[in-house]
Point group: C2
Chain length 340, copies 2
DNA sequence: CTGAAAGCGCTTACAG
DNA sequence: CTGAAAGCGCTTACAG
C-alpha cells in the first residue's frame, strides 16, 4: 500500500536512480523528467523510507539524549530544547534513561543513532572510550573533561553560584550555610566550590556544620534545613544548590516558626518559574536550561560535520533573578526578575 | 571496523543464514555450530545492525511520543514512564513536539516507528484517519473518541475533580469558583464539567463570574485569582484545573493581603510533589502521570500484537491528597497525604 | 540442520 | 542526463 521508489519509477517511466536523484536533489536532471517524476511522487504520495535510506547512507538522522531519569522540569526543558533544535535540522531525537551507560549499552544503541548527548554524570571515561571506538560523536551536558573526547555544553555554575553568594554577603548576612547537591553531581560540586571561595574571599567564617547535602529534591532540602535550624547558632542565610532544595528549605523555615527572609534568607539555583510562586518568591540563579539542550544538539551536529576540529566547550551565562527570599524588597513576584 | 554478519559467518565457517539463526534464536541449530557462532560473535563483539534488521523485518522497534511541548514536569513524567516501559520490552522511544500533527507529518515519521502515543488534544479525526491508512497504531493520552480508531489511556478526571469539589463543599464553602484550563484542553473540560455538576448536585449557586480560565501556567492562575478577588462577592474557595494554576492563585491571595485557607481555600489538580512545598501546602487531586506513560506504551504494544481486538480504554484512578490549602488541619506537609 | 538466493527500499559509482 | 548494477546488513522461504 505504501509507495516505494519502484512504484514511482514505473509510473514516471524512469529508473529508480533517476527518482532518487530528483527526490534527493543531489544531481542534475532534465527539467522535463524531473517534472514527470515529481508528478508521480505527488500522485503516489511517495516518501522515501528512512530506514532504507539509513542503511544505504549509513546515517540515521537521529540523535540520542541520555539522562539518568526524566522526572523533573529540568529534563523536560532539556528535551524541549534538544528536540526543537534537532527538528530544525531534520533530525529526530531518541530519549533514554540510563544512569550507568557503558560500552555495551552504547553499542546496542549505536546502530540507530548518529550521535549522543549525555548528562554529565554518566559520561565516564570508559564510555567515552567506547564511543570513540565506535566513532559515535558525543557531547556532554557538563564541563569538558581532560582526556575525554567529548564536546561540552554547560552553564557557568561557578560564576552563577559566586554571584549568588556575593549577593547574600552584600545583604549583610555573615552566617551563610550551603545545602549542596549530591556528591555525584558535577554541577553541584562547582556550586559548592563557589560557596567556599566567596566566603574565603570575604574572610567570612565557614563552620563545617554549615555545609549540608541534599539530592535535588524538595524533601531533602526540607530535612537539611531542619538540621541547620537546630544548630546552636543557625545560619542567617542559605544558598541552595537548586530550586527544589530551596523550596524544601523554605517550607522548613516556616514549619519551624521562623520567617524568610527575616530570620533566614534563601537563594536557589536554576531560576525556575515555579520559584516565583512560593512564599516568599524565591531568589535564584537562572540558567538557560532549554538553551543548553538546544546548544548541545547544535554542537553535536557541528561535530558530526567537523570530526577533526578540536574540542569545543560552550559555557552559557547565568543570571541572578532577584525576588524576595534573599531580602530584596521586590515590587512584584515577576517584575523584579532581571532575567528575560 | 564494526563487525557485520559476514565477518561472523566467515570466522565461524558457516553461512550468514546460520549466524542469523543463532543470534535471533528463531530456529534450531546444532549445539556445535551454535557454539562456534557464539564464539565468533563474542570475539568480534558482533551486534546486529538494527537499521538493517528494521528494513528486513519491516519493524523498527521504536515508538514515538508526540506532545505539543515538553516544558513542564507533566511531560517529563510521561516520558519517564513511557521510556521505562518501552525499554523493558526492548523498544526505543522517539519524542517529538508537534501541536498540529497531520497526515503529512505523520507520514514523514511513519517510516521510523512502529506506533505512536499522542497527547489527547492533537489526535484529531484527520490524524487518526491518516494513521489508520498507514496502519500505524496509535494510542491517545486522553479519552476514547467515538469513531476514532485509537486506544486510550487517561486518568479519571471527572471523578477526581468531583471529589475535590465534594471535599470543598464538605468543608462548608458555598462560594466556590473554578479556574479552568484552556478551552482546547479535553482534560480541562472534564474537570470543569465536574465542577458544575457537583455544585448542581448540592444545590449550590454558581454565578458566571466564578468561572475563570487559565492556560495551565502559574501566571495565568495568578491573574485569574486577582480577577476573582476583585469581585464584589469574592469566592471563599477555588478549585483549580491544575497545580500550576493553583500555585499562581495561591500567591495572588497572599499578594492581595488575604490568607489561604482562611479567606479563600484552594485545591489543585495533579498532585505534584512541588505543591507540598508552597505555603500553605497545596491540597490536590493526584493523578499517576508516570503510570499514564507506562500504560500508554503497554497498550500500544498490546495493540501491535492484536490489531483486531476491539478498542481499549484504560482509566486510572485519581486520589485526593489532603494538605492544608483546603482548610484541613494537617500535621505535616507530607504526612497528611493519602496517596502513597 | 544448513546454505544459496531473493528481498527489504534506498543510494551512488560506473558506463554510456 | 540516465540506466544497470552493486552495495548497505540483515531475514527467511526454499531446497537439499
Amino acid at each position: 500500500m505504501k509507495a516505494t521508489i519502484y512504484d514511482v519509477a514505473r509510473r514516471a517511466q524512469v529508473s529508480i536512480a533517476t527518482v532518487s536523484r530528483v527526490v534527493s536533489g543531489r544531481a542534475r536532471v532534465t527539467e522535463e523528467t524531473r517534472a514527470r517524476v515529481l508528478e508521480a511522487v505527488r500522485e503516489l504520495n511517495y516518501h522515501p523510507n528512512p530506514v532504507a535510506q539509513g542503511l544505504a547512507l549509513q546515517s540515521t538522522r537521529t540523535l540520542a539524549l541520555i539522562i539518568d531519569h526524566f522526572d523533573s522540569i529540568y529534563q523536560a526543558k532539556i528535551v524541549a530544547g534538544a528536540e526543537t533544535e534537532a527538528r530544525a535540522h531534520d533530525y529526530h531525537l531518541l530519549v533514554q534513561q540510563v544512569a550507568d551507560l557503558d560500552g555495551d549499552k552504547l553499542r546496542r544503541l549505536s546502530g540507530r543513532i548518529d550521535g549522543i548527548i549525555i548528562s554529565g554524570g554518566a559520561s565516564t571515561d570508559e564510555l567515552l572510550r567506547a564511543a570513540t571506538e565506535q566513532s559515535i560523536h558525543t557531547v556532554r551536558l557538563g564541563s569538558l573533561v581532560p582526556d575525554l573526547r567529548a564536546d561540552a555544553v554547560v552553564a557557568d555554575n561557578y560564576k552563577g553560584a559566586y554571584e549568588a553568594m556575593e549577593h547574600l554577603i552584600g545583604h549583610g548576612y555573615r552566617r551563610i550555610a550551603h545545602i549542596a547537591g549530591p556528591e555525584s553531581s558535577p554541577h553541584g560540586k562547582l556550586r559548592a566550590k563557589a560557596y567556599h571561595a566567596a566566603l574565603e574571599d570575604h574572610a567570612i567564617p565557614q563552620p563545617k556544620e554549615y555545609l549540608a547535602h541534599g539530592d535535588y529534591t524538595h524533601e531533602s532540602g526540607f530535612q537539611a534545613m531542619v538540621g541547620l535550624l537546630e544548630l546552636s547558632e543557625p545560619p542567617d542565610a542559605v544558598f541552595c544548590a537548586d530550586d527544589l532544595l530551596a523550596m524544601g528549605a523554605n517550607l522548613a523555615v516556616h514549619e519551624l516558626g521562623y520567617s524568610v527572609p527575616n530570620d533566614v534568607a534563601i537563594v536557589g539555583f536554576d531560576g525556575l518559574e515555579t520559584g516565583a510562586y512560593v512564599t516568599p518568591p524565591l531568589t535564584s540563579v537562572y540558567q538557560p536550561i532549554e538553551q543548553l539542550g538546544r546548544v548541545a544538539v547544535e554542537t553535536l551536529l557541528w561535530r558530526m560535520a567537523h570530526p577533526d576540529e578540536e574540542l569545543r566547550e560552550t559555557v552559557l551565562p547565568t543570571e541572578i533573578v532577584l525576588r524576595r527570599s534573599c531580602g530584596c524588597p521586590a515590587v512584584s513576584h515577576v517584575a523584579s526578575s532581571t532575567a528575560a
